[in-house]
């Protein structure tokens, strides 16, 4: 009994480490995923340069793993760091690949060298994000937990409404920080041209899963506090859905602000563009709720 317990413990810890790494990757990598120049450079890049890019990433991530990393363990040897580096690159590659498929930048018709170019170039910031995952919300480490707890206690007394507004506010700020850079660019209409019908549902699903994972799945330092916080939508699922709606609204407002959506556009354009920009907005919103 003890053994199976320990094994499941091992697995849950390992999965949490990987999920934490992936969450860090999404925070860092999503803005570059919405940059068409990188898709183009990836399309025409020569293979030797890709190998060079992979090697460079390896060394940079190895350096980062010596200081930050995505695991909670602090006492690591060089061998551990090498292994973690390989894992960080793999997490980066897999998540980037899934995102590029979701964005329809890699399809069945994409030629192999082109897919590899896009995948490897886009995965570089993603992998850096994985390696920095622990560093992201380092504002409060274990020493800080007590102070954040007392802060939470005072928030309790302020009532649920204040907390709800605090949640909405931090979601909005986070969504703005990430999506404001993407809203005025041409990527959103370009992606919208390639994405149709049911694919948008995939976008919504991915946004919800990524948001949930970052806030509740990844074991970032701030999570116990989030679970304690009282608010109108304080169950993980309802918080995720509510913050997704807030991020979608923020994305829509930003698009209107930059004149990317006009009143006489059809409602399908409003919907698809908001959902597409909603993904980076949601990632930002999730980060916002953890950080603030």
């Amino acid at each position: 009994m003890g053994r199976s317990n320990r094994a499941s413990n091992q697995w849950s810890r390992e999965i949490q480490d990987i999920v934490r790494g992936a969450s860090g990757g999404f925070l860092f990598g999503v803005p570059l995923l919405y940059t068409m120049e990188v898709w183009w450079i990836g399309s025409s890049v020569k293979m030797p340069r890709l190998i060079l890019a992979m090697l460079l990433t390896f060394f940079i991530v190895l350096m980062l793993n010596r200081t930050a990393g995505f695991r909670k363990a602090t006492d690591t040897t060089l061998q551990d760091e090498l292994m973690d580096t390989v894992e960080a690159i793999a997490i980066g590659l897999v998540c980037t690949g899934l995102m590029l498929i979701l964005l329809r930048e890699i399809t069945w018709e994409t030629a192999l060298p082109e897919s590899l170019g896009k995948l490897i170039y886009e995965s570089i910031p993603f992998t850096l994000g994985v390696a920095l995952a622990n560093q992201f919300f380092s504002g409060e480490n274990e020493a800080d937990t007590s102070s954040s707890k007392s802060k939470t206690a005072t928030q309790h007394s302020q009532g649920t409404l204040t907390n709800t507004f605090a949640d909405i506010g931090s979601t909005l700020i986070g969504a703005m920080i990430i999506a404001f850079n993407i809203a005025p660019t041409d990527e959103v209409p370009m992606l919208a041209a390639a994405v149709d019908g049911l694919w948008l549902l995939g976008f919504m699903g991915a946004s919800l899963v990524i948001s949930y994972t970052i806030v509740f799945g990844a074991g970032f330092t701030n999570q116990p506090k989030r679970r304690q916080q009282q608010g109108l939508f304080q169950r993980p699922i309802s918080e995720t859905v509510m913050s997704y709606l807030v991020s979608l609204a923020a994305a829509c407002v930003m698009l209107v602000f930059f004149d990317k959506l006009q009143w006489d556009d059809s409602w399908q354009i409003w919907l698809s563009h908001s959902i597409l920009l909603g993904l980076p907005a949601t990632v930002g919103g999730a980060a916002g709720r953890l950080a603030i």
Binding site: G2, Q10, E14, P48, A111, T145, P224
Partner: protein, 148 residues
């Protein structure tokens, strides 16, 4: 009985540091996920090296052909085409042009630019004419491209 050995493994909050086993002994879970990770990285690196080995170091070869039948809707004629690059390198800003001659006189022309066409990649599009291309002579050709 095993409880005493098990207690520091409490996965919750404060005991995180203790919960991590000494680094020399990696857990099975870590070993398996490292195995999978190496597989992913090796596969991608392998694909890059494979593409490098088969990379043909020669300029783009662009082939253009009419694909499918001419579609006639709303008094317009749509002539679909398919452009593919069977050469080695990527071509940028590929210009495809079409001319419709009726009785030896150029009646209508059309132009399309394809942003990028990597090796073995295909692009599809259509030219639109007001006159029936089947009643005249239609010439579609690739007119230019630039190196990326």
């Amino acid at each position: 009985m095993e409880n005493s050995a098990e207690s520091p493994q409490d996965p919750q909050d404060s005991s995180i540091k203790i919960a991590n086993p000494p680094t020399t002994a990696r857990s099975t879970a870590e070993k398996i996920s490292f195995g999978l990770a190496s597989l992913v990285v090796a596969a991608i690196a392998g694909l890059v090296i494979f593409s490098w080995a088969t990379e043909r170091d020669r300029p783009p070869v662009l082939t253009l052909q009419q694909s499918g039948n001419i579609r006639h809707t709303n008094r317009q004629f749509y002539v679909p085409f398919e452009l593919s690059n069977i050469g080695g390198e990527t071509a940028e800003s590929v210009q495809v042009s079409a001319e419709l001659k009726v009785n030896g006189e150029v009646k209508e022309t059309g132009n399309v630019e394809i942003d990028f066409l990597a090796r073995d990649e295909k692009a599809e599009g259509a030219f639109v004419f007001h006159q029936n291309p089947e009643k005249g002579e239609l010439v579609i050709r690739v007119s230019s491209y630039k190196k990326p």
